[in-house]
Amino acid sequence: MSALRVCVEGVGLWSPRLGNFAALQALLCGATPPPPAARPAAATLPPNERRRAPESVLLAIEVAGQAVAMSGRDAATLACVFASSHGDQATTDYMCRTLAQAPTELSPTRFHNSVHNAPAGYWTIATGCHAPSTAVAAQHASFGAGLLEAVTLALSDQRPVLLVCSDTAGSGPLRKVTGCTQSFGCALLLSPTPGEATLTQLALTLTPLHAATPLPEPLASWSDTNASAAALPLLALLATGHGCCELGAAATLGLHIALENIA
């Protein structure tokens, strides 16, 4: 298999410590960027939706909005892939708790927010996007599997694709089981062809999984507390502008990614 090549035109990032991609770049240069507000702003959503939407949706839409803004593209035309290892854990906790105690009192809104594609639904509605949208999961490899899905879509249909990968912190008894204790979300705007907004090009190849690339301090332990933070080795490369890394794409399958600067 020859390498799959796509261009990166935008990067979004949000965690309780880093409010965007520039903050990650600053952190890796030794600075201490100020933490963002407690809730992701998710400015793409209309105000009433922003009040109603669960945190998982705010997080996904915040990073999606950042990546699209950096690329300068029109969100309405972009195919999108939303990846998450656990979906909305607060909603799952609410659903299971209510079902155990008073099932007929289940909230209809919280039920429709429980679908794994809720962020994709809110995003396409907010941006008027009729392009294909999807929602995927692959446990600890959700970012790698989502990236593979986004890259294959970009290359086979020759269209730009928005990739979002995010997980919020767990709630209730489920939190111990998922081990997800911090929120983390990121987004990439991927294009099959270079253009004015191109930041860098990725060359991706499938490989038997060795070990995911270790992270530089102070990020080293972040992926222990959130499966979506498995994206960080690639985000760190994008922040520094060169190098290569390996991410998990499935239980025994890895994704080798090299940054290629294009003239």
Partner: protein
């Protein structure tokens, strides 16, 4: 958009309330025998009808897979053992290599039923009681992770969870990986099981009928929820020129509402147009369409109008949810299987439950079973969040 190179469907199977495997589906359809029954699931609290699969509880997982045990994975394992599917996958794995085969499965419930159960028996500290199972059972990827282990597949492995379009979209993702040469074959499919989340969730949305669902009937008043497992094996055409084919697919978003379809069916129409374009087909060339047809007031109204304005009377259409119930994340693969059976057997299943057709339905509707050659069959799947997919299948040797 260039016309897609068709793919061979070298094996396919479904297990639903109609029974296990293709013969059981075909036999029930031929005899107009619904699989729906009064709700006898869980605490039986809701007065509704369900499409429950018999024997799920007895379908123990193979030795070594106990850590994946849950109702959803039991149904997956039951479904995988039908129609010689395990053998076909083994032969493909030996031919191509485990790392050259993708596994892409759709589900909306995954094994949330196991998480519901854990919440019903929390320990004194309010935490999950001791459980020998993988923590991954309580995550959306539980199904695909279990099936990857059961089939010994080591290639790309992904769960698609876009509500009721989940296991239709798996065909699209697999086609892209095959086209780019990442893989040589793909196992696609989906499994959803009955659980409190969907029964009480759809009940909260007032979308469940107290009677067996009546798709496209003037008196329809909601869905019946079902459960199902289905799988298909996709390979390049050269590997099996005599096999039925995936000719195209379409995907689009409504951008309208989280739980109500677009009033003019915009996303559904875009997905349909995308599918016909990829397949290189005109609407007139479509012989049969298995509709999404959930028996919800809105879905059926919008979908019937789309059919009426797009297809001639010679295109026959029906919903089969009166047989299986709405199997949610598994609906895509179940109805792909019925579309493939229609091609293989020259058989168009009637739209069970439509005894007083809604006047919005055009002359395309097959209200009773019909026998005729089917070269091209489509399957529609629409999900919450306005997520639409359409699949195009054709007989071997058919060329547009």
């Amino acid at each position: 958009m260039p016309v897609m190179t068709p793919l061979a469907i070298t094996a396919y199977t479904a297990t639903t309330a109609l029974g296990c495997g293709r013969e059981a589906q075909l036999d029930a359809l031929r005899h107009a025998r619904s699989g729906l029954r009064p709700n006898d699931f869980g605490n039986r609290a809701l007065p509704c009808w369900i499409g429950r699969v018999d024997g799920v509880e007895d379908s123990a997982l193979a030795t070594g897979h106990a850590a994946w045990d849950c109702r959803n994975n039991r149904l997956a394992w039951l479904g995988l053992r039908q129609d010689g599917f395990l053998d076909r996958v083994r032969i493909a794995r030996e031919r191509y290599g485990a790392d050259r085969m993708a596994l892409i499965l759709g589900t909306s419930t995954a094994s949330i039923g196991a998480t519901e159960e854990a919440y019903r028996r929390l320990d004194a500290a309010g935490e999950f009681a001791h459980d020998p199972r993988h923590p991954e059972v309580h995550a959306p990827h539980s199904l695909a992770a279990f099936v990857a282990a059961a089939l010994s597949l080591e290639g790309p492995c992904m769960t698609i969870s876009t509500a009721c379009s989940s296991s239709a979209k798996v065909f699209a993702s697999a086609e892209r990986m095959l086209r780019l040469g990442l893989i040589d074959a793909a196992v696609v499919g989906g499994v959803d099981t009955l659980c409190d989340s969907v029964l009480f969730g759809f009940n909260a949305l007032e979308l469940i009928s107290t009677a067996p669902c009546r798709p496209f009937d003037a008196t329809r008043n909601g869905i019946s929820i079902g459960e199902a497992a289905g799988f298909a094996l996709l390979e390049r055409l050269a590997a099996a020129p005599e096999a039925p084919r995936l000719l195209g697919y379409g995907e689009a978003s409504d951008a309208h509402h989280m739980s109500t379809p677009h009033p003019q069916g915009l996303g559904a129409e875009l997905a349909l147009r995308d599918a016909l374009t990829r397949a290189g087909l005109a609407a007139e060339q479509v012989d049969y369409i298995n509709l999404h047809g959930t028996a919800s007031l809105k879905n059926d109204e919008v979908e019937a109008a789309l059919i009426e304005r797009t297809f001639p009377a010679a295109t026959r259409v029906s919903s089969t949810k009166g047989y299986t119930g709405h199997t949610l994340g598994a609906a895509g693969i179940v109805e792909a299987t019925i579309a493939l059976l229609a091609i293989e057997h020259g058989f168009i299943p009637g739209n069970l439950g439509g005894s007083t057709p809604d006047p919005v339905c055009g002359p395309q509707f097959a209200w009773r079973n019909e026998l005729q050659r089917v070269d091209v069959a489509l399957s529609n799947s629409f999900g919450f969040g306005g997520n639409n997919a359409c699949l195009v299948f054709a007989r071997a040797g058919f060329s547009a």
